[in-house]
């Protein structure tokens, strides 16, 4: 019989306007690389990464969504199953920050009430083009009682930390919860091996 390769499974979701760097953040986290040339995400994308937290092996199943209004019906259907949501804006584009409240409303409408959230101000490597002061990001996060970080997928700043903090927050309120025993019957899970 195949041995169990993880203890917990967390489902995370990335949302935010298109172009803020969601796909790059996820790629940085899952493959530790930066690629400037991502095609636009249509519908939904998917990555897996297994991490260790508090002595437990946690499999993170991360959904990356398209930002444009057109895709909301198909993307909001993932809100419900998510245990953590990463809300991303671009510090060099004030509009993407103004839309954070819209995304928060979306979460209220479609996600579980106890979903863990996190706000990320991405592209903090481009300080010369900054349009959103760090203090404003902190303020809105404080107002909604959500953790906040500025990140850069390009310069690899705070990316790992962001995902790990979100996972930790979920872990904190799932004491002793164990994953279903029948998961991972696949014997040749090459993808999981590649990621860990």
């Amino acid at each position: 019989m195949a041995k169990k390769t993880y203890d917990l499974l967390f489902k995370l979701l990335l949302i935010g306007d298109s172009g803020v760097g969601k796909t790059c953040l996820l790629f940085r986290f899952s493959d530790d690389a930066f690629n400037t040339t991502f095609i636009s995400t249509i519908g939904i994308d998917f990555k897996i990464k297994t991490v260790e937290l508090g002595g437990k092996k946690i499999k993170l199943q991360i959904w990356d969504t398209a930002g444009q209004e057109r895709f909301h019906t198909i993307t909001t259907s993932y809100y419900r199953g998510s245990m953590g949501i990463m809300l991303v804006y671009d510090i060099t584009n004030i509009k993407t920050f103004d839309n954070i409240s819209k995304w928060l409303r979306n979460i209220d409408e479609h996600a579980n009430e106890d979903v863990e959230k996190m706000i990320l101000g991405n592209k903090c490597d481009m300080d010369d083009k900054r349009q959103v002061p760090t203090a404003r990001g902190e303020a809105i996060a404080r107002e909604h009682n959500i953790p906040f970080l500025e990140t850069s997928a390009k310069a690899n700043i705070n990316v790992e930390k962001a995902f790990m903090n979100l996972a930790q927050a979920i872990l904190n309120k799932t004491p002793g919860r164990v994953s279903e025993p029948n998961i991972n019957i696949g014997t040749q899970d090459t993808s999981a091996r590649r990621c860990c």
Partner: protein, 395 residues
């Protein structure tokens, strides 16, 4: 390759006729795909998409007329408003209106909406087919009126720059920083170097076509993914061996894209998702077909809750253009366009793809299967899949 020469000859014979035998041409193209040589693919696509008629003697007139019409669109939608913007700018130094103005006039509101749309198109076109250098290269046939540096028109490139500058200004104003700080010229990020004045990259041509299309179809606007539909058409026409076709690639692509969109536009409209023609019903159709043809595979997907929204949404909306390398996409589209029920065949291809990876799906867990269906290219042999799809569709 005798077989290839023979096939080429078949195409040439069919295209030589005064009135094209549509059925025979479709049949040939459906089964074997179009050669790129001798403009065969670009002509076939123009015929299949109803851009040019079957009577060959009418081609010149039709093409001439449509290309002139396109010039007119550019004039009305880009040049005239561009001149106005330019003159406003020089009269006031800065645009007096901006998005935070509480009482914007309606013209401004429209301009502002257009700018938002343009910025979205711009983002998506810059990253069109990033693995391929083609779209970053300069076109031989730029739109002269627009790119001439002494021109009195604000072209789309300048408009994008202007928008970005303006939003920086607005942002800095909010921060209480004085205006003159930001008047420095925006430097472009190194990833996407912009060509010098007087030259245009192919992606900029694609951007212009999409902008015009969106302006002419206000009910639809621009939806992400349209760039992926236009890309292969424009590529085919802009790399045509015939110089005359290449020269008019922009106008011809615009109309062929418009024709194609008229058939698939419902996939791009959110409110139609659950209607008879929307993407939802196509995904259902795929699942029904799979259930019929391969019950255990269908059951497996059901059990894992691996829904078609996770992968087939993109497959169908983009006609598989994001799933394969461009040459393979062109080959798939040969068959799609040649099929008289073309988007029925798309569903057969999707079904054939799933069936061709059935062993893996039956064996793997959900995450592995998700990865598999999101990146099928490396797992399948396209020729076999197309053969399978033809077999399924003919029974």
């Amino acid at each position: 390759m005798a077989g290839y020469q023979q096939r080429l000859k078949c195409f040439e014979d069919l295209l030589e006729a005064d009135v094209i035998d549509l059925k025979a041409l479709r049949n040939l193209c459906f089964i074997s795909g179009c050669p790129h040589e001798k403009s065969i693919r670009s002509i076939c696509w123009k015929i299949f998409l109803n851009y040019i008629p079957l009577e060959k003697r009418k081609w010149n007139d039709v093409l001439q007329k449509q290309r002139n019409l396109y010039k007119q669109y550019i004039e009305e939608i880009i040049i005239l408003p561009g001149k106005k913007m330019k003159s406003k700018e020089s009269a006031n130094g800065e645009l007096e209106d901006h998005p935070l103005n509480p009482n914007p006039d309606s013209e401004w509101r429209e301009t502002f909406r257009d700018n938002e749309m343009l910025l979205q198109i711009d983002k998506d076109c810059r990253r069109l087919c990033p693995d391929l250098s083609f779209f970053q290269q300069a076109t031989e046939y730029p739109c002269e009126v627009l790119i001439n540096s002494s021109s009195s028109v604000e072209n789309l490139r300048k408009r994008v720059e202007q928008c970005v500058l303006q939003s920086e200004t607005v942002a800095k104003n909010r921060l209480g920083i004085t205006l003159n700080v930001v008047s420095k010229k925006r430097t472009h990020s190194d990833e996407y170097s912009v060509l010098p004045d007087g030259k245009e990259a192919h992606w900029e041509v694609v951007e212009r076509i999409l902008f015009l299309y969106a302006k002419l179809n206000p009910g639809l606007n621009y939806v992400q993914g349209m760039n992926e539909i236009l890309g292969p058409i424009y590529y085919t026409f802009a790399t045509d061996p015939d110089q005359n076709y290449r020269e008019h690639a922009e106008a011809d692509s615009f109309f062929c894209f418009t024709c194609l969109m008229s058939e698939i536009r419902d996939f791009f409209i959110k409110t139609l998702d659950d209607s008879q023609f929307g993407i939802g019903s196509k995904m259902n159709q795929l699942m029904e077909m799979l259930k019929e043809l391969d019950r255990p595979l269908w059951q497996r997907l059901q059990d894992q809750e691996l829904r078609p929204q996770f992968y087939a949404f993109r497959w169908i909306t983009l006609l598989l253009s994001q799933e394969f390398q461009l040459p393979d996409v062109l080959r798939i589209w040969d068959s799609l366009f040649a099929d008289s029920h073309r988007f029925e065949f798309l569903i057969y291809i999707c079904c054939a793809i799933l069936i061709s990876v059935r062993q893996d799906i039956l064996k793997n867990d959900f995450p592995s299967n998700m990865k598999l269906v999101q990146r099928v290219e490396s797992e399948i042999d396209l020729r076999q899949v197309l053969a399978k799809a033809r077999e399924l569709s003919s029974t």
